[in-house]
């Protein structure tokens, strides 16, 4: 009986194994043939220069695969999916292009970058994809993996798109390698990267304080916040003075950028190279003034004015403390009312205001921003047969968002829905801050660029109370109204000539590329150690020596020839 049984089992097992292999083969095969079909279609289309209707719609459907960034703020609404959503339907409807998701990954962590790098290694690029990494862009362009968009842009771009190219010439120059346009760049003017000091208005009131004008006043305010009871919950000292996050030198909330600026250090990320007063190529984080700035932070840390565990908190962990009302003051970027302080407003109805960074006597403050040539690039694979489709989508985007009804604007742009389009006018609304200020002086949105008009309405709506509960209105208001962050740049930082722009464009020295990660780590580690008191402030000198030795000096030399003084 037993024998019979096992005798019968084996064939089943074997059959099972066989099936597994067959199934696996089938799945692989069907994947393969899909790709084959797509290529075949594409080839046919290319040969026949795919006929289109008068309005640019393809008569036969074409496909486009793209890399989806599931970023922090992008949300899927109304049962949309990454595959089937408002933008994919609109693009299918207007252009007869079938979008396919090549891969999706979280762009707020390293996941997207990691995935893209793995895919690049395999040599099989999506048709349309984005990168923030100038080096990745440059390598792909130089290795001939990207489609040359020069001609298709000239031929298919609307006048409106061409106007962008003129206004943001710096950005487009950054996307151009050897005279060929290899990407649609982020259309940017980086003045808005400046840091601010953000303070909860209720805490200021509860402690009877004024916004600090000097670093000394800022430290005094931090002491009140840390040791007193600014949140009025009856408990002294359960709140933080000045909040930091572990990344310290990145442009986000809880950085030290605003503080070091006061000491004349235009610090920003790992890429802040510039020519100093004497025309010598230098790097922000090795300026001797850093020592004073670090001494202030180390002293604050010692006195318990900085959140003790900042070394283990990234920005998003800090947000939890911000939302729960433990943090009342932090240096941060211009978009504070979009995130994270929108959470405070939603939860407690409290506004967290941006202020110009407090300054330090004896120093001209300096603010570091990136080169305009650097930013997110949207690229088309060289293998893609329809590079013109990318321009068509960009055009459709421009028409839908900027020249259409308010309804369409809300549906296709608001709540970060624009990220569902493979290509969008990647443009911070910030670039219109100056235009908006003028419009408010006039009291009318006439003459504003189409992309700026909705911003005007949001701010007006927030101020008259009709949009007081609207996220977009609150975000825009905190950025671009007269009490917002950006007017501080326009009316103070810029007239004071405090802005210093990094010279580092798309071309980067090889030494730097190899060593940037370790140099970056070295910097953050050294600053963290000094702030927490693990190392004395004088350790800064030894950090500078290490930095110079570990590829820093060579980078400076190479940059000096790569970007000659004008």
């Amino acid at each position: 009986m037993k024998k019979m049984k096992s005798g019968r089992v084996l064939p089943h097992v074997m059959a099972g194994l066989l099936m597994v292999f067959v199934l696996s083969a089938c799945e692989t095969a069907s994947n393969g043939s899909d790709e084959g079909n797509a290529k075949e279609n594409a080839v046919n289309a290319g040969n026949a220069s795919q006929p289109t209707d008068a309005d640019g719609k393809y008569q036969k459907p074409i496909t486009m695969s793209w890399a989806v960034q599931t970023a922090a703020a992008s949300k899927l609404l109304d049962n949309d999916t990454w595959e089937d959503n408002r933008w994919s339907r609109l693009i299918k409807d207007k252009l007869n292009i079938d979008l396919k998701v090549a891969f999706s990954a979280d762009s707020s962590t390293d996941a997207y970058k990691n995935k893209l790098n793995a895919i690049i290694a395999s040599g099989d690029l999506p048709d349309v994809f984005k990168t923030q990494d100038a080096n990745v862009f440059l390598q792909l362009a130089q290795n001939g993996q990207l489609a040359d968009l020069t001609d298709v842009f000239d031929k298919y771009a609307s006048d409106s798109l061409k106007a962008y190219k003129e206004r943001f010439a710096d950005s487009f120059a950054g996307a151009t390698v050897d005279g060929k346009l290899y990407a649609i760049p982020r259309m940017n003017d980086n003045f808005h990267e400046a840091p601010f000091l953000w303070i909860r208005e209720d805490w200021l009131k509860n402690t009877g304080s004024q916004p600090p004008k000097t670093v000394e006043e800022m430290v005094a305010l931090a002491e009140k916040f840390a040791t007193g009871d600014p949140d009025g919950n009856g408990i002294d000292g359960d709140t933080y003075g000045l909040a930091l996050n572990k990344d310290l030198i990145r442009q986000n909330h809880g950085s030290i950028l605003g503080l070091v600026s006061a000491f004349g250090v235009p610090g920003r990320d790992e890429s802040m190279f510039y020519r100093d007063g004497n025309g010598k190529m230098t790097f922000a984080w090795i300026q001797p003034e850093m020592k004073e700035a670090l001494a202030v932070l180390a002293d604050m840390y010692k006195r318990g004015l900085i959140n003790k565990e900042f070394t283990s908190k990234n920005e998003s962990a800090l947000v939890e403390d911000i939302t729960s009302g433990k943090i009342g003051m932090a240096y941060g970027s211009n978009w504070g009312t979009w995130y994270p302080y929108n959470n405070v407003y939603k939860k407690d109805g409290v506004i967290v205001h941006p202020y110009a960074i407090p300054t330090e006597a004896g120093h001209d403050y300096k603010i570091g921003i990136e080169s305009n040539a650097v930013g997110q690039m949207t690229m088309v694979s060289a293998e893609y047969e329809h590079p013109e489709a990318a321009i068509k989508i960009l055009d459709l985007y421009d028409q839908t968002v900027n020249y259409s009804t308010k309804e369409d604007y809300l549906k296709y742009w608001s709540d970060e829905q624009y990220r569902l389009s493979p290509l969008y006018i990647d443009q911070p609304g910030e670039v219109y801050a100056a235009d908006l200020l003028k419009a408010f002086d006039k009291g009318s949105s006439d003459g504003l660029a189409p992309a700026a008009k909705p911003l005007y309405d949001y701010i007006a709506g927030f101020e008259d109370g009709s949009l007081a509960k609207d996220d977009n209105a609150f975000g825009t208001w905190g950025q671009m109204s007269k009490s917002g962050s950006l007017p501080i740049v326009l009316n103070k930082y810029m007239p004071d000539h405090a802005i210093v722009q990094s010279i580092l464009g798309i071309q980067r020295p090889e030494t730097w590329l190899t060593n940037v990660a370790s140099l970056d780590t070295l910097t953050i580690t050294a600053f963290t150690d000094i702030i927490t008191g693990a190392k004395p402030v004088d350790y800064f000198d030894s950090f500078v020596q290490q930095w110079l030795k570990a590829g820093g000096q060579q980078t400076l030399d190479e940059l000096d020839t790569m970007y000659p003084a004008k």
Binding site: L17, F21, D110, K113, N114, N117, A118, I120, A121, S122, G123, D133, N135, V136, Q139, L140, N143, G144, Q145, K246, D247, N307, K308, E309, T311, S312, N314, T514, N515, A517, S518, D520, T521, L522, I524, T525, T528, A534, Q546, K549, A550, G551
Partner: protein, 305 residues
């Protein structure tokens, strides 16, 4: 009778064995040996667009030269060896001690319950354990530091302080694995002939002397064996564990070869450099693995395969 089998018959007799091996051999050939061929990119200036076997610029050992001129490579190797060695040593001592103590428990049921409980962490992934540990060890909200605060001890940044990080990694690794690690020693303990103990009791030896003269010699060969086999992991600091718990703040003591290779290859897209670093690790590991197998055979007569 077998001797009289003809060559052909013997082959026919062996044929089913070949068929059994076939699927596994094919898969291993493709996925293990196939990727071994891919390490040639360590000697190239690899440009992905040209394909794995396309025309790539040959640069010989330049990637290795670049690798060893990187400022943190020495730190990374030191960290790897320090963490791996500590784990190895503690990974023998703690399970042996636990097995000895558990062996003193008479009740089989109690023994079984203890075993079940201490095995648990071994079967959970580092993803889950990291999630738990990050919360437990948080300096402000973590249970451990709240407990320390009640005892009047300053909070310790287990995961954010370079001095504490390696110790935290070793301790949490032991916490995860000591229970399961003791399986083999418990088995060895039960294998000791009870007659030896009875004889010792008649000779008037107390428990301590019994442990010293009978128990420990009884499991010594297996302890030696496990220690020697552990050598094979000299460059394995534990990627899953460290990757999920470290941060740039602790790179100076916590960055190990595997995390370094991962960041180089995937986060920084330095494919050739990363593969070179991986190749270096594999090469050194291979020497240690072979040595450990050889020593295991020599000292205890145990053959891994």
């Amino acid at each position: 009778m077998f001797a009289s089998l003809k060559r052909k018959d013997k082959l026919a007799r062996e044929l089913p064995l070949y068929f059994m091996l076939l699927p596994a051999v094919v898969l291993v050939a493709v996925y293990s040996y196939g990727s071994m061929a891919g390490v040639i990119i360590a000697f190239q200036k690899f440009i992905p667009a040209r394909g794995l076997f396309g025309h790539q610029q040959w640069v010989g050992f330049k990637n290795f030269a670049t690798l060893f001129s990187m400022p943190n490579i020495g730190t990374v190797i030191r960290n790897t060896v320090v963490i791996a060695l500590s784990k190895m040593v503690a990974g023998v001592i703690v399970p042996v001690a636990f097995a000895l103590l558990l062996n003193e428990v008479r009740s089989l049921l109690t023994k079984r319950i203890f075993q079940t409980v201490v095995y648990l962490p071994h079967f959970l992934s580092w993803v889950i354990l990291s999630g738990i540990l990050i919360n437990l060890l948080s300096p402000s909200e973590g249970f451990v530091n709240i407990l320390l605060a009640k005892l009047g001890i300053e909070p310790i940044f287990f995961l954010g302080n370079p001095d504490a990080f390696p110790a935290t990694m070793v301790a949490s690794d032991i916490w995860k694995s000591f229970g399961f690690g003791s399986v083999i020693y418990l088995a060895a303990l039960t294998g000791i002939d009870p007659a030896l103990y009875e004889a010792a009791v008649i000779d008037g030896a107390n428990r301590w002397r019994q442990t010293w003269h009978i128990t420990l010699p009884g499991i010594s060969s297996i302890v030696v064996l496990m220690s020697v086999l552990g050598l094979a992991n000299i460059l394995n600091g534990g990627f899953d564990q460290i990757y999920n718990m470290y941060s740039p703040v602790v790179y100076s003591t916590g960055d190990i070869l595997d995390t370094f290779v991962f960041r180089l290859g995937i986060e920084q897209a330095q494919y050739s450099l990363s593969t070179a670093a991986g190749l270096f690790k594999s090469g050194v590991s291979m020497i240690f693995i072979v040595a450990s197998y050889y020593l295991a055979d020599k000292f205890t007569g145990y053959k891994v395969f």
